[in-house]
């Protein structure tokens, strides 16, 4: 049980009738499938310059040393390989009628773009501020008993209310973590006494929240409810994937510490493509 300090406030739970779903696959940390190999042009080199450059690059992950070393930069002047210009987009893709478009969009669930700022205290309680459509004027701040680190890797979800309306959310979420003891000690070293935020008392268990904002916007509050409904429905899976993600992160960090990457050599080809009127255009795929 997290030791809250706040006064008693109304603890809200997500509506029972709301059903949620996460479309697609939640990314863990596995590298994406390599893209299909591209057949490069067969360049005819006309001139080359080679530079050895000492570089210090930012580390690939926080907490690792910078990537430093000497890279070889090769710059080739090459003859025009004679590639045609890429095909222009098909006409039909550009000139879709507005009526067709309206009919298409009319069948889609209402899309919401939500900007969310989450600060998680001691991996236990989250201060959450939600801005629908990125507008700051309707931002709603709540305290939640959900560890919103579990939301990382989720960029979209859908909620269906008891009235049958489907809300499709696209999330832009910034998640930060605060360790109260660590913060207190850090500031104490500099002679500053930390004023810990007043965290309301929240029960452990199913997702609940209390609203900090006065007169919260109804639509934004609905987003907060839907986020908690999603965690109620998918929280176990989200927590497992979050743990897997953290393990993969630590494994990768350990690997990079044991095998420090070196700056990669770079090769560049430049050529003059000539006048566009003399170049053919590639055929439509």
């Amino acid at each position: 049980m997290f030791c809250g300090q706040g006064s008693a406030q109304e603890v809200k739970t997500p509506p029972v009738g709301t059903v949620t779903a996460i479309p697609g696959v939640i990314q863990v940390a596995a590298p994406p499938e390599p893209a299909a190999a591209v057949e490069k042009p067969d360049f005819q080199i006309e001139g080359t310059q080679v530079k050895l450059i000492d570089v210090v690059e930012s580390p690939p992950m926080p907490g690792l040393p910078p990537v430093s070393g000497t890279m070889t930069l090769k710059v080739h002047s090459v003859a025009d390989p004679g590639l045609p210009d890429p095909p222009r987009p098909p006409e039909s893709a550009i000139s879709a009628g507005t009526e067709d478009f309206a009919e298409y969009t009319g069948e889609q669930p209402k899309a919401h773009f939500a900007f969310i700022s989450a600060t998680v205290y001691d991996r236990s309680r989250t201060r959450l501020t939600c801005y629908p459509r990125g507008g700051g004027e309707k931002g709603v701040t709540v305290w939640s008993n959900v560890d919103f680190n579990h939301f990382s890797g989720i960029s979209a979800f859908e909620a269906k209310g008891s009235d049958g309306e489907i809300r499709s959310y696209h999330l832009m979420m910034g998640i930060g973590n605060e360790t109260t003891e660590g913060r207190r000690e850090l500031l104490a070293e500099h002679g500053i006494e930390w004023e810990m935020p007043e965290i309301p008392t929240l029960p452990d268990g199913p997702p609940v929240f209390v609203v900090e904002s006065q007169d919260p916007d109804t639509e934004t509050l609905e987003l907060v409810e839907d986020l908690h409904a999603l965690y109620r429905d998918e929280g176990k899976r989200m927590a497992e994937l979050s743990a897997a993600r953290e393990k993969a992160y630590e494994d990768k960090k350990a690997y990079l510490l044991a095998n420090p990457p070196k700056p990669k050599d770079v090769t560049v080809h430049f050529w003059n493509r000539g006048d566009s009127s003399t170049r053919p255009e590639a055929e439509q795929p």
Binding site: P34, A35, V38, E39, G47, N272, R273
Partner: protein, 178 residues
Amino acid sequence: MKRSDARQWFLPVIFTVALASQGNSDPEPQPQMDFTQGLQGTFNADWEGIAARTYFMQFSTNLVDWHFAPFIDFGDGEHNRGIESDSDKFFLRLYYGDFPGINSLDDAMNADFDGDGLSNIFEVTHGYHPFDIESTAGGPDASHDPDADGLGNATEQASGTNPMNKDNTLLQLEVIVD
């Protein structure tokens, strides 16, 4: 044909650097360069030129160190360049200016904008900066000897030899007098 893994490179960042437009207080605005994906993993950099304007292109893999592409373009009309690289990140920018007395591409290539004794085209095709007389750690560009054959760049330029290849020795001219 060579094969290579497809990479998501070339961040879509394009910008231009206007050099001093000497003698022209109100230079004609430079249209934005178009940077588009070409075929077979290549990219196209296209821009509309302004009359009597000299164009250099610079590239970078880290937005800190900028290198000159090995060519110079000049004047109005369309300029169309192709680029391919295996770098994970790649940035391009145009580096241009209106210089008095420069009226053709030959003028722009043969001029020596930094006055170090090396022509602009020599500098950009051999990895030097045409506006900096000491653009590497090897001392002044004119006396720098990257192939360590005992001949500095100015000598190699005057002799028409390759400053990057010490086997490419001075051309010996035999004068036959009847």
